[in-house]
């Protein structure tokens, strides 16, 4: 198993696509050098200029992922589900390989059970949560038992239990089969112990080091840390904890101390259901005051995103009351809502409105806000000098996430509603975000972040609200300094 690490935007996903044979066919670009997968030189076949094939050679068939005996799980889970129903989707790859029906009938439930989705065959894939979709995608790729498995952040949207389950699957593949695994993963505690080889890339996509995990750590730990790569057994992060102390210092008006301070979010007995038969939230109450920093946790599909969207008035509760700084968010004029609340949605692309990064950042902002937005972009490593004219859709997953954070925080709103704010982030992105959030909370903003990232919860929040089965299961202070996932 090869683990590929590197800062956000270093070309990890591009490498993954190249290895899986997607680059020449699906994403045109320029190639140099060679890339051998099995006995196929992917780069040469892609028609790089130095590929001087004899003119009379028969035309070679195009390179395909399955032709290479490979399977790939891409970064965005929703975009790679092909069929409406989960079972059909898992079977899709098997159908293409002309498996017999009996074999498929046996393999599909097995593959689903393997990723913890037993009994999901008949569910509609569009109605699953992001984490569930990610596991469906994984089951579909695992089902044919590929010889080369390429995984691009397969646990980015998974809860800790789901991530453990995925790694159990990977471990058993590694032990029982001869399959090669190429893994891109920010959850170092799970990934490093499993890796046979580590390839570390720097900001420009050049290799920093390559070798056995122990050797790489011994030789280049410092270089990796400087590049922002997460390392196993990280000591308490100096910058991050500084951010936290800083925030605590700033946040002198603790909630409740302000006389007459209105709660930023006041959700009372809220019930919500997409279909009457299966309510997502049964009866949830939550009050978040100014200066509070709340991590919203819970398993995939427990209703975290739904609660955020209710708080912002993007959904109407079936029953119960939602107040945003004393207002019904559904009745607020757009301009006022935008001043009060900033939202960072789970899928950045769904929120993009601009054709360029500059347009995206500046859209609808006043002059003073534009200055702050530029500063934020700089701090979150999207300097306009470099990124201004790039298309938001052509950024890497981690860069897209940071761009959506810039747009969500640019107005310094009272409510910072963040949905999985840290996926795809390297250490520098994490630290910059924790710091920026600390400052905003210090100014009196409230932070409500749905997250599976325990490190983020520890560094950036001090109250933890856990959802399960449509109820608030726990509401407690985050113990400081607890170990990360």
């Amino acid at each position: 198993m090869l683990l590929v690490v590197g800062p956000s935007g270093s070309g990890k996903s591009t490498l993954a696509k190249a290895v899986a044979g997607l680059l020449p066919e699906q994403f045109p670009g320029e190639w140099q050098g060679s890339l051998r997968v099995g006995d196929v030189d992917v780069a040469r076949r892609a028609g790089s200029p130095d590929a001087a094939a004899p003119a009379d050679a028969p035309p070679e068939p195009p390179i395909t992922t399955t032709g290479l005996g490979a399977g790939i799980v891409l970064q965005e889970p929703a975009s790679q589900l092909v069929m409406e129903r989960v079972g059909d989707d898992v079977a899709f790859g098997l159908e293409n390989l002309a498996w017999s029906r009996a074999a498929m009938r046996e393999r599909v439930p097995e593959a689903l059970a393997g990723v913890g989705l037993r009994g999901f065959d008949d569910r509609r894939s569009t109605w699953l949560s992001g984490g569930e979709q990610q596991r469906v995608a994984l089951a579909g790729v695992l089902a044919p038992g590929p010889g080369l498995l390429v995984l691009d952040e397969p646990t980015a949207h998974l809860d800790p239990l789901g991530a453990d389950a995925v790694f159990r699957v990977l471990r058993s593949i590694r032990e029982r089969t001869a399959a090669t695994i190429v893994l891109i993963e920010h959850r170092v505690a799970l990934a490093w112990p499993l890796a046979d080889l580590v390839l570390a890339l720097d900001d420009d996509g050049r290799p920093i080091d390559f070798g056995a995990p122990r050797d790489v750590l011994g030789r280049s730990a410092r270089k990796l840390a400087r590049a922002g790569v997460w390392l196993p057994d990280d000591p308490a992060l100096p910058a991050a904890s500084a951010g936290k102390a800083d925030a605590a210092g700033h946040a002198s008006p603790t909630p409740g101390d302000l006389p007459g301070a209105e709660p930023v979010i006041d959700v009372a007995d809220v019930r919500f259901a997409y279909t009457a038969a299966s309510p997502v939230l049964r009866s949830v109450s939550l009050v978040v005051g100014p200066g509070e920093r709340v991590a919203l946790v819970g398993r995939n599909g427990s209703g975290k995103t739904t609660l955020l969207r209710l708080a912002l008035g993007l959904l109407a509760p079936v029953a119960g009351r939602v107040r945003l700084v004393g207002h019904d968010p559904r009745r607020l004029p757009a301009a006022q809502l935008a001043r009060l609340a900033g939202f960072v949605a789970q899928e950045p692309e769904l929120g993009f409105l601009g054709q360029s990064v500059r347009e995206e950042i500046e859209l609808g902002l006043g002059q003073e806000q534009v200055a702050y937005a530029h500063e934020l972009a700089e701090r979150l490593r999207l300097p306009l000098a470099e990124f201004a004219d790039r298309s938001p859709y052509r950024l890497s997953g981690g860069e897209q996430r940071r761009l959506s954070l810039v747009t969500g925080l640019a107005r310094r709103p009272l409510l910072l509603a963040l949905d999985e704010p840290t996926f795809g982030q390297d250490r520098r992105g994490h630290e910059a975000l924790v710091e920026a959030l600390g400052e905003l909370v210090g100014e009196g903003s409230a932070l409500l972040a749905a997250t599976h990232d325990e490190r983020f919860a520890r560094d950036a929040t001090d109250r933890r609200v856990e959802l399960a089965d449509g109820w608030v299961l726990a509401d407690e202070p985050v113990p400081p300094g607890r170990s990360a996932a």
Binding site: A20, L22, E25, Q26, T64, T65, T66, G67, G71, I72, L74, E76, S79, Q80, L81, V82, M83, E84, R85, G87, D88, F92, G93, L94, E95, N96, L97, A98, W99, R101, M104, R105, V108, R124, W127, G140, V141, P144, T275, L312, L314, A334, A335, Q336, L337, A338, R339, A341, G342, F343, A345, E349, L350, G351, F352, L353, L363, G364, T407, R411
Partner: protein
């Protein structure tokens, strides 16, 4: 029901396992076409009305469509039917014809017997199309339709899956529109703006791109393919098909 579930509704298990739900989608497609062609043989108002009523009753009884779901789907379409009939009634070419029999005159507006007949005929026809279409959609699992197209009609998988993608593109467009408007609202912008169209186009192209990448990455190609969900002809298909043909013939004969 959101706009997203209008075209590709999430069928209840009872709908999918009802008699019409189990009937082969191709048979239902064939019946729909036969009925609509049959209506071409007559200008009478009765046959389309008979077929519309038969379709709706069959949908409720044999298709186990929840009455509410059917009503919600038909409501906007009923408005369209009425609008079409009214427009044709008021602006019919028969109205200014002095030979036509006058029924009603409101100021400059003259309504004739011939115009009423033509408008009723057209309205009934549209109502029949709408009812048959609604019952087809509410008893047919899109995936099953595609399976049948590939396995039995021997349509090329590439075409059939393209068809499925197009079928799902409309609800997708609706959810894209919703997410775009949400995004605009959260940035303090007006929710309706011409740039929404650009955003929709960008997203539609992204979805198509991503779908084709996802399908290629999982080995979808011209090679040999098997089917996870087999579709076979059953006696039920024969019964439903023959009865449906008998009904359209009877409806046409009855109107003579």
């Amino acid at each position: 029901m959101t706009a997203a579930t209008f075209l590709a509704p999430d069928l209840e298990l009872s709908q999918r396992e009802s008699a019409l739900g189990r009937t082969n989608p191709l048979v239902k497609l064939g019946i729909s076409l036969a009925w609509l062609l049959g209506l071409g043989f007559t200008l009478d108002v009765r046959p389309p009305l008979i077929l519309a009523v038969v379709a709706l009753v069959a949908g409720l009884e044999l298709g186990r469509i929840p009455t509410g779901a059917l009503a919600r789907r038909l409501a906007p379409l009923v408005v369209a039917v009425i609008a079409i009939a009214l427009t044709n009634l008021l602006f019919s070419t028969h109205n200014p014809d002095p030979a036509a029999r006058e029924l009603l005159r409101i100021g400059p507006l003259r309504v004739t017997q011939e115009a009423v007949e033509a408008a009723a005929g057209l309205g009934a026809r549209v109502a029949a199309i709408v009812s048959v279409g609604a019952v087809f959609v509410l008893t047919t699992d899109p995936t099953r339709l595609v399976d049948a197209l590939v396995q039995q009609a021997h349509v090329s998988p590439r075409f059939a899956y393209g068809f499925l993608a197009a079928y799902q593109a409309v609800p997708r467009l609706a959810s894209d529109l919703a997410s775009l408007r949400d995004a605009r609202r959260l940035r303090g912008l007006r929710q309706l703006h011409p740039s929404l169209l650009v955003g929709l186009l960008v997203r539609a192209i992204r979805h198509a791109d991503q779908l084709s990448i996802a399908m290629d990455a999982r080995g979808f190609g011209p090679g040999l393919r098997t089917a996870y969900r087999p579709i076979a002809w059953t006696r039920l298909d024969l019964v439903v098909g023959v009865s449906a043909l008998a009904i359209v013939v009877a409806a046409l004969v009855a109107s003579r």
